[in-house]
């Protein structure tokens, strides 16, 4: 049906006659009078198409995209280059338009994508089972918490403060419904305090959560964090940044039971925060507690290679009213971008990319460390992001420094004080392959000038 053709009175009558209803209103008879609005929605009047276009353009121009400035802003989403092959493949209607396949085996291409995606995630995480993706990073963390509750029936989540603030918030929100509680473990010298971590884990712990690298960019001792939970019922959940996984010890080799993470960096643009996808991998013990769907490879009756939807044990059409996962259309298109991206990089390319990040991050840490008024917030190893402290008054001063840098065309990073009151003057700086050595040098100059300007403004205020 064309979207420019209105339904006529005749069309309506034909349709109503066919189903035996006398009016459209009759179709809504089941809605009780008490909950009916009985007035127009409070919305502006309709606009001509041309005016709508101008209005939307106006709104869009209020955003600053990562293309409009040199950005060192990360904090969970990163400005990686997205190759043209991804747009080409994502634009194919077979992938772009279908709704969730309720008769999945008819869509062999869709299932093959899921299977190859799962294989890639399994290889990155060194965990045997990956599902076909979930909505995004924080909801993957939440789903891991629910898996733990289902598996061991315990009700407490022990969470490192290095876990992304959005993930911690999601766990707290979901805990209202799960009937669980969240206990936070502080950071020490930039990483999860090992003593506080061990002390927080006991027989009532459903799961422990840490992030690798953590929100401050620091590489955690994942194996030690996992080991600390081994004498408890707790399931060990690691939230991973997928690209550093190319050079860090994989969760499967560190005693991690469930590895989740934000998939944006794998071929998805920033797009002002979404959509992206979340990945979810686990040891075989948790196969049947996993949310979402798992595609499998098989042979058809003629011996040809084919794909099937193997597992969807928590989903609505299998578990009916007891479903505990509802991924539906999933983020299949975003996950497709992820597997195309990994295939585009290849086995060695992904390692080279992570090594490049490692080198440039080390260079940036050194460059910023030499700037007057900027000092390291921690000295832990970092892959793609690191935290510094600015020698200014408070969070508001950091915001002003960021504004000044942005006026000079550089977004210097994320004001840590927004989420960490213990680091009011912290700044989180992210590096991607799109940030050149020259841009890092410029960041050092611009940030140094902005901090100096803030400090002199501060002095003037004091003397006045």
């Amino acid at each position: 049906m064309s979207r420019y053709t209105a339904t006529t009175a005749d069309d309506l009558k034909t349709m109503l006659d066919a189903i035996g209803a006398s009016s459209v209103e009759e179709l809504f008879d089941a809605i009780p009078e008490g909950v009916r609005l009985r007035r127009e929605l409070d919305l502006p009047a309709g606009m001509p198409e041309q005016d709508v276009y101008a209005h939307l353009l106006d709104l869009a121009r209020r955003n600053t995209s990562a293309e409009d400035e040199v950005t060192f802003l990360g904090a969970g989403m990163y400005d990686h280059y997205v190759p043209a092959a991804i747009d080409m493949l994502l634009g194919r209607s077979e992938f772009l338009t279908p709704y969730t396949p309720y008769q999945p085996e008819i869509s062999q291409g869709g299932l093959q994508v899921m299977f190859e995606y799962q294989t890639a995630i399994s290889e990155l995480t060194a965990l045997p089972v990956s599902n076909a993706s979930v909505y995004e990073g924080p909801s993957a963390v939440g789903a891991a918490g629910y898996l733990a509750k289902l598996a061991n029936g315990k009700r407490r989540f022990v969470v490192s403060r290095g876990l992304h603030p959005h993930s911690r918030e999601t766990l707290r929100t979901l805990s209202h419904g799960y009937g669980t509680e969240v206990v936070e473990v502080p950071l020490k010298d930039g990483v999860t305090d090992p003593e506080a971590w061990a002390a927080a884990i006991d027989d009532e712990t459903a799961a422990v959560f840490f992030q690798q690298p953590n929100f401050l960019g620091a590489v955690e001792d994942a194996a030690a964090l996992a080991q600390a939970a081994k004498n408890s019922p707790a399931i060990v959940v690691g939230s991973y940044d997928p690209i550093p996984l190319a050079i860090l010890a994989p969760p499967g080799a560190c005693g991690v039971d469930v590895a989740v993470g934000e998939g944006q960096t794998l071929g998805n643009r920033l797009d002002f925060g979404g959509p992206s996808f979340g990945f979810f991998a686990a040891t075989e013990a948790y196969l049947r507690r996993m949310p979402g769907r798992i595609a499998g490879e098989t042979r058809d009756v003629d011996g040809r290679r084919g794909f099937v939807l193997t597992l969807q044990t928590r989903e609505q059409h299998i578990r009916r009213e007891k479903a505990t996962s509802n991924i539906c259309t999933s983020q299949a298109l975003n996950a497709l971008a992820g597997v195309v991206y990994l295939s585009w990089l290849g086995r060695t390319g992904v390692v080279e990319l992570a090594e490049l990040l490692l080198q440039r991050t080390a260079y940036a840490r050194e460059a910023l460390g030499a700037v007057d008024g900027v000092s390291a917030l921690h000295d832990q190893p970092a892959v793609r992001e690191f935290a510094v402290q600015l020698d200014v008054e408070d969070l508001e001063a950091v915001r002003r420094v960021i504004d000044r840098c942005q006026d000079a065309g550089i977004n210097p990073g994320y004001a840590l004080g927004r989420d960490y009151e213990e680091h009011p003057t912290g700044l989180l700086v992210a590096i991607t392959e799109q940030r050149t050595k020259g841009q890092i040098d410029r960041l050092a100059a611009v940030l140094g000038a902005a901090v100096a300007a803030e400090r002199s403004a501060d002095r003037e205020e004091v003397s006045a």
């Binding site: 049947r288 044990t313 299998i318 578990r319 009916r320 007891k322």
Partner: protein, 127 residues
Amino acid sequence: MADASYPTDLLYHPEHDWARIDGDVATLGITWFAQDALGEVVFFDPPAVGATTTAGESYAEVESVKAVSDVIAPLSGEIVEVNAALGDGPEAINDDPYGGGWLVKVRLTDVSETDALLDAATYEASL
């Protein structure tokens, strides 16, 4: 798959479960009708040994290619054994629902609860 049958030495619960009573221990399973309705069983999620069952309430789950379903306890008691063979071979529930497809053994809290169960003829007539 075996033909429809409802052995007369068993007691039945209307939710399509059977019980074989041996003193104060009952072996429990699902009936031919239940496994036929479920279709090919691919997974049995057993309760822990030591867990309790309450007559009329769910104590385990069976997953078939069609759906995940609760298994209702015909009698109350404590789980003393689960059929470990179902871990690798859940299809026994389809192939031999009253033999190799047994699910759990329960030490009964109250043997008189068996009075409320149905005999084979009554159960079969209810289908």
